[in-house]
């Protein structure tokens, strides 16, 4: 997994609440057996007309936001299904940080497995960041994960919290499975004990 330390880029505003995983990546794109190539389908039904042409007024189709690296979105982002295609599409588009007041649990978890940093901020901070993100090509935010800090275009800063283990994995680009494999003896011991105490399993 790609390391995440600092990120500087355009932040796109998506001022809607409850952006669900069906909106982020609709089901017709879940039939792939690959992880890559989903970026062009990100937010498909908001981004394209039925004939496949772009909806000009949608934020990610506007020239200033086509290369956005950060998304600023309303409450309860990523609710709904467990599809990891949602963070895959976000990452494939080039976005590596999503800022909201809250995230659905499974989506939040899935982000970290793909080098994406989901940041939870207060409603007041989100309002300010949404304003910052509205400045087109001047909507530049800097995310410093090690310092746990967002810096806006005017130099104002917002601090954020993050679970220390998740931060550690993201900053170092660590693979969870490799980490768990180091504990294989503990897993085997656990299995032996359970075979005794709950033989029906």
């Amino acid at each position: 997994m790609e390391k995440f330390t600092q990120l500087r880029g355009v932040a796109a505003p998506l001022d809607m609440v409850n952006i669900d995983t069906d909106l982020i990546i609709p089901k017709q794109h879940l039939k792939t057996i690959e992880r890559t190539g989903l970026g062009k389908f990100l937010l498909d039904e908001l981004r394209y007309n039925e004939d496949g042409s772009e909806k000009e007024d949608f934020v990610l189709n506007q020239p200033a936001y086509r290369d956005a690296k950060i998304l600023v979105a309303g409450d309860n982002f990523g609710c709904g299904s467990s599809r990891e295609h949602a963070p895959w599409a976000i990452e494939d588009f080039g976005i590596r940080c999503v800022i909201s007041t809250s995230f659905a649990d499974i989506f939040y978890n899935n982000c970290f497995k793909n080098g994406i940093l989901p940041i939870v901020v207060s409603p007041e901070d989100l309002e300010n960041l949404m304003d910052d993100a509205g400045r087109g090509s001047n909507a530049i935010l800097t995310i410093d994960l090690e310092a746990q800090e967002i810096t806006g275009p005017d130099g104002g800063t917002v601090k954020f919290d993050i679970d220390p283990f998740r931060k550690h994995c993201l900053v170092n680009g660590l693979d969870d499975i490799g980490l768990t494999m180091e504990k294989v003896d503990k897993i085997s011991d656990f299995e032996d004990r359970r075979a005794q105490s709950q033989p029906w399993l």
Binding site: K27, T32, S82, D105
Partner: protein, 471 residues
């Protein structure tokens, strides 16, 4: 004296392998369900890193999302969908994972077949790359949806890295009125706590109304826990649970079963155990519930009206509700029962079990689907279908004008050919009314099986208890 513990804490403690200094916990996973949509990249990951499946025998795979619900012998028409199912066929063969292929009578929606086979048991940790894994919590197990990276993690290690969630107890006091189903109850719960109300929590459902539910009813409630934001919802196992589990193909056999029951009886939350949050609901006040918007929390009693978004400005929901009404093509103030429907769908992991089929058939019997409506019944598994046919339910449905299909996820998420056309409006027993969920531009109203059948017959949303006054 030990501290009183909740059902969740007991399961968590008994599965905890390791806790790191930074708080990350490694927990053991007893059962892993796998389907074709969220697994290909996980198996590919194993292949690339030269890893094996640690415990194939604790894993069970089935194709369900893409499978056709009619003319199945012809196979899957769409290339990309067929390739996804064929990829699962190959992966389970290569990694030695037990499998119910598309033509096996035991095939069905992954969350229907786990309980049906006795693969799902009380006190377990159960995961699947699917958010409706919460269903299995009905047995008093910790069951949750995971992403594909975690699917790979479980395949390789039979464990998951987790942070300790918070706990919420939802106590449903009193009794549900006659004709009111578990679907109405869970929609009412989501209406109360909101679609993000359970975020960060594991929910335990308790109280008289929950105790009186059948296992099928409990599964419907736990299934929709994720629509209230919580990854897992569980119910303490009791005699109803043990009776359901007994004698199933993968359940413990005689001798071991009794030993297991003794253990399962110890799982209920201790007197005095505390929760981070408590919610109480009065069951007797719940009537049939129907969603009017594009989030499961946008829901109300069938006797009500479509709300005015302006009334919700102080909750910051005005813009969302406005967008919902535009998408759903509804006007504030109109009666819910004045909403006409074009399609009806009974099925899914929420309402595709035998009891749902019976409930739907009881309303369909001797009646006819309205001319304007196209309606289908999709049993949750091949075995549910077989049982329904043994009970003659298929004949009732067909005589009433419903299509009687084969098992699969079908129009719950419309990955196969079953989907709404743009603008079509559906009375649906599924779990999500998101924009485009049942087909781009399609409009979904969530409700119980009895209510969906009643709507199909009346041609519009109706209180199932008033159906006879309609005709």
């Amino acid at each position: 004296m030990t501290q009183p513990r909740t059902l969740f804490q007991k399961i968590w403690d008994s599965h905890l392998i390791d806790t790191q200094d930074d708080g990350a916990c490694l927990i053991y996973i007893d059962r892993h369900l796998v389907h074709e949509v969220t697994s290909p990249q996980a198996f590919e990951g194993l292949r690339l890193s030269g890893r094996k499946v640690r415990h194939p025998e604790r894993t069970l795979a089935v194709p369900d999302h893409n499978v056709p619900t009619k003319d199945r012998e012809k196979g899957i028409e769409e290339d990309i969908a067929r390739i996804q199912v064929e990829t699962l066929d190959k992966n389970v063969a290569e990694f030695g994972v037990p499998y119910f292929p598309m033509d096996d009578i035991r095939q069905g929606v992954v969350h229907i077949i786990g309980p049906e086979q006795g693969f799902t048991l009380p006190g377990m940790t159960i995961v699947c790359g699917d958010s409706h894994t919460a269903t299995h919590g009905a047995f008093g197990s910790l069951a949750m949806g995971i992403g594909t990276s975690e699917v790979e993690h479980v395949l390789a290690t039979q464990t998951l890295i987790q942070a300790v969630p918070k706990t919420m107890r939802i106590t449903v006091e009193g009794e549900l009125a006659p004709g009111i189903e578990s679907k109405d109850l869970v929609l009412a719960i989501i209406g109360q706590i909101g679609t993000a109300g359970g975020t960060g929590y594991v929910i335990e459902y308790a109280g008289e109304a929950i105790r009186k539910l059948s296992m099928e009813g409990r599964m419907t409630v736990c299934n929709m826990t994720i629509e209230g934001g919580a990854r897992a919802g569980l119910i303490a196992p009791d005699e109803t649970t043990f009776e359901y589990v007994k004698g199933r193909p993968m359940s413990p056999k005689a001798g071991a079963f009794e030993q297991a029951v003794e253990y399962w009886k110890t799982l209920a939350s201790d007197e005095g155990a505390t929760y981070d949050k408590e919610v109480t609901i009065d069951a007797s006040q719940i009537g049939p519930y129907v969603t009017w918007g594009t989030s499961p929390e946008e829901v109300g009693p069938v006797s009500g009206i479509v709300p005015d978004p302006a009334d919700f400005a102080d909750q910051g929901k005005e813009a969302k509700y406005q967008r919902s009404l535009e998408y759903m093509d509804l006007k504030a103030g109109m009666k819910i029962t004045d909403i006409p429907i074009d399609r009806a769908f009974v099925g899914s992991c929420t309402n595709g079990r035998i009891e749902d089929m019976r409930s739907a058939a009881a309303i369909a019997k001797g009646r006819k689907v309205a001319d304007r409506v196209s309606a289908m019944i999709v049993p949750g598994s091949g075995l549910v279908k077989e049982q329904a046919e043994q009970e003659g339910l298929d004949k009732i449905f067909i005589e009433a004008g419903f299509e009687w299909r084969d098992a699969g996820c079908s129009m719950c998420l419309a990955m196969n050919a079953d989907r709404l056309a743009p603008g079509e409006r559906c009375a649906s027993t599924s779990n999500r009314n998101f924009e485009g969920r049942q087909g781009r531009g399609g409009r979904t109203h969530l409700m119980s099986p009895a209510m969906a059948v009643a709507a199909a017959i009346a041609g519009h949303i109706v209180d199932v208890r008033d159906l006879d006054q309609e005709n």
